[in-house]
Symmetry: C2
Subunit: 237 residues, 2 copies
């Protein structure tokens, strides 16, 4: 039935077709916008049935590599990482541990882009950040209105001039709101304790450091800004 095996998992024909298609696109130097042969031709060229081919195509469509326009056939697209990841990063299917890992991941990433922010940021972008911060009035314990919260961090990612990083923020945002909501009770005491110690860092504080060009101070502050999550995560390990 299938001829190749790896890791005890049979490599099905569909797997092979998927791979062959990728090689085919690469070999024929088909790039974004290229029209690819229709299903019957492809199936014929590969010597497989249309159903098997379609299963492989379905995967490539999911990854965003192929887009189908009825009648006009299929065209190649640049697959954003977003396409494939969006479907997997879903609180429905990921374990709690993985969700925590993602929160941790996101925090690390935002800390890591600090020097880029200072390298790239323009005065216009500082103004925009200012607007966003003013839009979000501070409530108790660092709980910003959600929109401002999202926009502030999105803007930071945007400043890196790195589309993939910016997209990443959008992808994992649902994970964050999911965790924030589900473990609200666990976050509250941590926030209260941090506030008691005067260690809460607000968006406004971060922005001031950016304005002052204080990169070192910002790096410390951004870590402190995420201390709620860090404490929560470290307590759980």
């Amino acid at each position: 039935m299938y001829h190749l095996e790896l890791d005890n998992k049979p490599i099905t024909l569909v797997d092979q077709i998927e791979d062959k298609l990728l090689n085919y696109f690469k070999a024929n130097d088909l790039s974004v916008g290229s029209i690819i042969p229709n299903e019957i031709e492809l199936a014929g060229a590969l010597g497989v049935g249309r159903s098997a081919l379609r299963e492989a195509l379905s995967r490539l469509k999911m990854m965003g590599l192929i887009e189908t326009r009825t009648r006009r056939g299929m065209i190649l697209k640049e697959p954003s990482l977003l396409g494939a990841m969006k479907r997997v990063i879903d609180p429905r299917i990921l374990s709690e541990n993985t969700l925590f890992d993602l929160l941790d991941f996101r925090v690390a990433l935002e800390v890591g882009i600090s020097s880029d922010i200072f390298y790239y940021i323009t005065s216009e972008e500082i103004d925009e950040l200012d607007k966003i911060v003013r839009m979000g009035q501070v409530f108790n314990n660092n709980e910003y209105p959600l929109i401002s919260e999202f926009m502030f961090h999105s803007k930071l990612y945007e400043i890196t001039r790195n589309k993939t990083i910016a997209e990443f923020q959008e992808i994992i945002h649902p994970v964050l709101t999911f965790i924030k909501d589900k473990f609200k009770v666990a976050f509250e005491p941590i926030n209260i304790e941090l506030e008691r110690q005067g260690k809460l860092v607000s968006h406004s504080d971060l922005l001031e450091l950016i304005k002052a060009g204080d990169e070192k101070g910002y790096k410390q502050a951004i870590e402190q800004h995420f201390m709620v999550y860090k404490t929560f995560l470290r307590n759980r390990k």
Copy 2:
């Protein structure tokens, strides 16, 4: 033919089936190891044909959510992000810009995990890092033997106790070697210039800072360690 639309892209039946399956798994509290109904039953329950169902299943298999054992039926697995991303992160299909973004992404992430490293690292892990560093004799211009290079950074990611972050390193490693190889010529002069200024930071330097518990020094050093890439990337933007 299809009833729903979004973003001008028709939502096909397969898309809906994919979503319904995820909801079904969640609603019935099916977790890792659960056996799910066979294809004919699922198709019947959803009121769709087997081919459409199989296209959706094929996607879930690609994501690693479902594993099929012939005859025994299908069982649910924890889908690692790796599964879905590995296929997309492929120099064959990603544009050069996205590959650069990924390099940038990876650097940011490794800078961002610095505090975790100091928080979690054990003396055993320091010993292991020591072995890895000694294994890799330094060649010219920071070009470590590839295995040591890979192992050193893998170990750092491992110390974070974050599986997702550790997996990420493994996934994008091919991208790094691809870029390193393809743009070797561009990296060389940058490295030479950095060495002239005495600004090259080796793995050995990083390890010494870890041993000394010098977190601040490490954070500066790790950024400097990646300065080759940063310079390369910033020149390109």
